[in-house]
Amino acid sequence: MRVVFLTILLLGRVNAMDESKINELKKLNAYVETNPKYPEIVYHKLKNGLKLIIFEKKFAPVASFAMIFKVGNVDNTSGQTGLAHLFEHMAFKGTDKIGTTNWKKEKEILEKIDKIYEELNIEDRKNEKDEEKIKKLKEEILKLENEAEKYQIREEFWKIYNELGQSQMNAFTSTDYTAYIVSLPSDRVESYFIIESDRFKNPALRDFYKERDVVLEELRMNKSDPSRVSWENLLSHAFVAHPYHNPTIGFEDDVSHLTRKDAIDFYNKFYLPNNATLAVVGDVNAIDIIKLAEKYFGDWKEGIIPNQNYTKEPPQNAEKIIKVYFPSKPSLKIGFKNDGINTDDMPALIVASEILANGNTSRLYKKLVEEKKMALYVGSYYSTPGHRYPSLFTIVSAPKGDTTVEDLDNEIMKEIENFPNNPPNEWEIQKVINNYEMNILKDLESNLEFAKTLAYNEQILGNWKFSWDMIEKIKKVKSKDIVDAVKKYLKRNRRTAVYLLEEKK
């Protein structure tokens, strides 16, 4: 059989650094990847633990940045679900220097507002609320907010970046991590370090309660989206003890009562340089980047990262079928418990996922969409909602025509249960390998996508080389390993199925 060799080598050759530059980088305590199996990455760890990954791609005069913290909604304690996501919003609200004309005075007012909100929370959570008191407290807050506004330059953080010509500036929070991304013309990379170091060292968390309202709007938007509603139901029913149970955006009651003090405590615990990786990809010089990182992030104090081991999910030992009624057409989501990304079975499970539902030549597509004409689409993923803890092997689909969700589910289970009788052939396995290699190339086309991959691999999966090393593991997977993985994991007593059914008016 023909094996496709990827010419990552070629990429290395185009960008190859000369000896003197490599020596200079070594003097800065940086590591330069010279193994042609991998791209020519420069890796540097600051004394405070911040990890820096740089890839020089000298093409258009632009650079992309991805900063990833190993903190997500999974790290929020009960009663504070959604805090990681709300904090991500707050990270755009400026610092003690950005967004204010007088931080000292503004801060005094913000602290007064915090105190009243603490009082308001207590009252609001009582069974018998004193509505008059609530009204009075809200009036007081409004007065103070107006006073604080006198010192505020609203959304100055965005304004500065926009003036610089940012592209793709955004942030996202998952169950596992929080990522901050932006691209800039490459002549202004120093600005990135000036702004971001201030952002993560001195956040002001101004307008906290207004932003909480914005997040509540986001939550309502999600609750109007059938796909998100069914995902939330899948996770909350599949996990009963592990915090993957909680929705990433949080429970409405929790979000409604989060306070600025909660956010400050959360920031102090998790937003540490030794809990983050910054990846920079584009038209940059790695030497300059390391010097800028040292200059601006060097004095960011490291800390002790809290224990991130949470209640282990107990074995499921039951098949769960959940029916959710919603004003939309029906769909199906299935999740089977896996044992985590670092288990020896995972490469085989990844291949199983691809064989089952990647593309029009996959088994489920051929059976459900083409042959039986029961489904509109079918897809799968080996690890939802994340990789930090054991998660779910998921399958998604939607019935077509007169097919019911139940019929569709039965047909999928039939195909899975028949899998051992029809072990994967070499063609199916090699297809997966080829696709993985092509996906890496595709990632490399975009500065930002590549920066995200590098930072994610390093900070969440433990090594920026994860994608390349996983291909090597996948290459060793045998047909029998895949059958064994399907038999072990895609079992009825490991599964939860969510039937989203049309709610008639």
């Binding site: 496709v4 990827l6 070629l10 185009v14 000298k58 093409f59 258009a60 632009v62 610092t95 220097k97 609203r154 959304e155 965005w158 304004k159 500065i160 926009n162 003036e163 610089l164 010509g165 940012q166 691209s183 013309p185 002549d187 120093e190 600005s191 702004i195 207004k210 932003e211 909480r212 309202d213 914005v214 509540l216 709007e217 986001e218 309502r220 938007m221 609750k223 989206d225 059938p226 004003p327 939309s328 057409k329 990647n358 593309g359 030549t361 969409v369 083409e370 509109l376 077509k400 025509g401 080829n434 696709n435 993985y436 290699e437 092509m438 996906n439 595709k442 490399l444 086309e445 500065n447």
Partner: protein, 464 residues
């Protein structure tokens, strides 16, 4: 390595950074001009081709831009464009069966994709350079000799019908589609939507005619980028695509839409946690130089969290997570769309605040500093449209297909830079028409009914 792009140090304008306390260096606005590309033409049929080698990665990308689109579909066969391009991708060719193509592409991790928009379409291929000849042979056969296999045709038809049945599942898509439908008229090509009846009527013969109507060398531009020798690539493209006929394309004339005057409010009553709102104003046609001040106005008013609407609706009042405004230009008309989602209880307040901001701009109240910021954002982020050779070529070809002047992209930032605050005030005054607009809401009507009464007469529509 040779850089394909350049930035000159010419100072256009100095950025006034907003804080002195954080020592951010002052930068000039970028004076970025995309590289000027010279097309080649296939001898036999004069088909325009942009070819540029880029050896950064061992891949090849080719795209065919076709001047066609949903608005050019015959009125009794609305949806044919979508079905046609699905069938181009999956319906096989004379030389290759669809199953053979799927197996080849998926095994190699290669792709052939199709897109149809309102007024243009494209077919593209992506593969590793070592697989190029194999994939290119399939790609060109699909384009020149599509087979429209019957079994696939029936499957795709069923899929499109199922998608129509599901078109109201996502309320944000529903509200934008239905708002435009009422704005331009339910029968006008800019407003209409595919229906099950029109899809059912389409035959394989119709697809063959569609191919004949639009696949002519006068109606297509090709771009090719990646790891190859440019002359070799030209020869390959030329030898395959010289077979495309040079006949006149059959693009029907579209009438100017009749946009109704007055304030129109439409509601689809649906029990949802959020109300999804679209406000539409009349915009400008394609090839209207007012697009430059209008681009600045859109950035200023609704281009992100820092914009006027972002600030007033989201940051200051916490009324929405999603709020923005943009404009879209078409050959015969255009629109300005304001989009927001808010809880049912604050629908009235949110709409009033939007209209209030538009009114201020209409009255000539434009913040000078924020106006300059909007310009800087447009000028300095322009370079990101050309992050690699593939996007450089595709940007150029996608403007050529609409017959924009050859130097349109080259002069873009200059034109934005020349926009004055008075130009922006003028365009705001012209287009923010507070007497003529359409509001469309999808949401739990009973919970916001009373808030809408002062805005005008409300028409309740049934979801279908």
């Amino acid at each position: 390595m040779k850089k394909l792009f350049f930035i000159t140090g010419v100072m256009i304008m100095t950025i006034q950074t907003t804080t002195a306390k954080l020592n951010i260096p002052k930068y000039s606005n970028l004076n970025y001009k995309p590289e000027h590309l010279i097309p080649r033409y296939i001898d036999a049929n004069k088909l325009k081709v942009y070819i540029k080698s880029d050896k950064t990665l061992p891949i090849v990308r080719i795209t065919l831009f076709i001047k066609t689109g949903k608005v050019y579909e015959p009125s009794d066969k609305v949806g044919i464009g979508t079905l046609f391009f699905e069938m181009m991708r999956e319906g096989g060719s004379v030389k290759f069966k669809s199953t053979e193509i799927e197996k080849k592409l998926e095994y190699l991790g290669a792709e052939i994709n199709t897109v149809i928009n309102n007024e243009d379409a494209s077919i593209s291929m992506y593969c590793h350079k070592k697989d190029f000849d194999e994939i290119f042979e399939i790609f060109s056969d699909i384009i020149i000799n599509p087979a429209f296999e019957e079994e696939k045709f029936n499957l795709k038809k069923q899929e499109i019908i199922e998608t129509i049945k599901r078109r109201n599942d996502d309320p944000s898509k529903q509200v934008t589609r239905e708002a435009l439908r009422m704005f331009f008229g339910i029968h006008h090509p800019y407003g209409r939507r595919s229906e099950i009846e029109t899809i059912e009527k389409i035959t394989i013969n119709d697809l063959k005619n569609f191919h004949k109507d639009f696949f002519t060398s006068k109606n297509i531009i090709i771009s090719a980028s990646g790891d190859f020798d440019e002359n070799e690539m030209y020869n390959k493209i030329s030898s395959s695509f010289s077979k495309i006929p040079s006949t006149q394309p059959n693009i029907g004339e579209i009438d100017e839409p009749n946009i109704q005057s007055g304030k129109k409010i439409y509601v689809i009553d649906k029990r949802l946690r959020q109300a999804f709102i679209v406000i539409l104003h009349k915009g400008i046609k394609r090839h209207d130089d007012r697009e430059f001040p209008l681009s600045v106005l859109m950035e200023y008013m609704g281009g992100g969290i820092q914009s006027k609407l972002g600030n007033e609706i989201r940051s200051k009042r916490g009324l929405a997570y999603s709020v923005y405004q943009y404009f879209s230009k078409r050959d015969k008309s255009g629109f300005i769309m304001t989009y927001l989602g808010t809880k049912p209880e604050s629908v009235g307040e949110a709409i009033e605040n939007v209209l209030n901001e538009l009114q201020k701009a209409k009255n000539g109240i434009i913040d000078g500093k924020e106006f300059e910021m909007a310009k800087s954002q447009l000028i300095n982020s322009f370079v990101f449209r050309f992050e690699n050779v593939f996007s450089l070529l595709n940007e150029k070809a996608s403007y050529d297909i609409y017959l924009y002047p050859d130097d349109y992209l080259y002069k873009y930032t200059e034109k934005i830079n020349n926009v004055t605050i008075d130009d922006v005030k003028k365009i705001a005054n012209e287009l923010y028409d507070l007497e003529n607009y359409l509001i469309f809401i999808v949401g739990d009507y009973n919970r916001f009914k009373s808030q809408l009464e002062k805005l005008g007469e409300i028409k309740i529509l049934k979801e279908d």
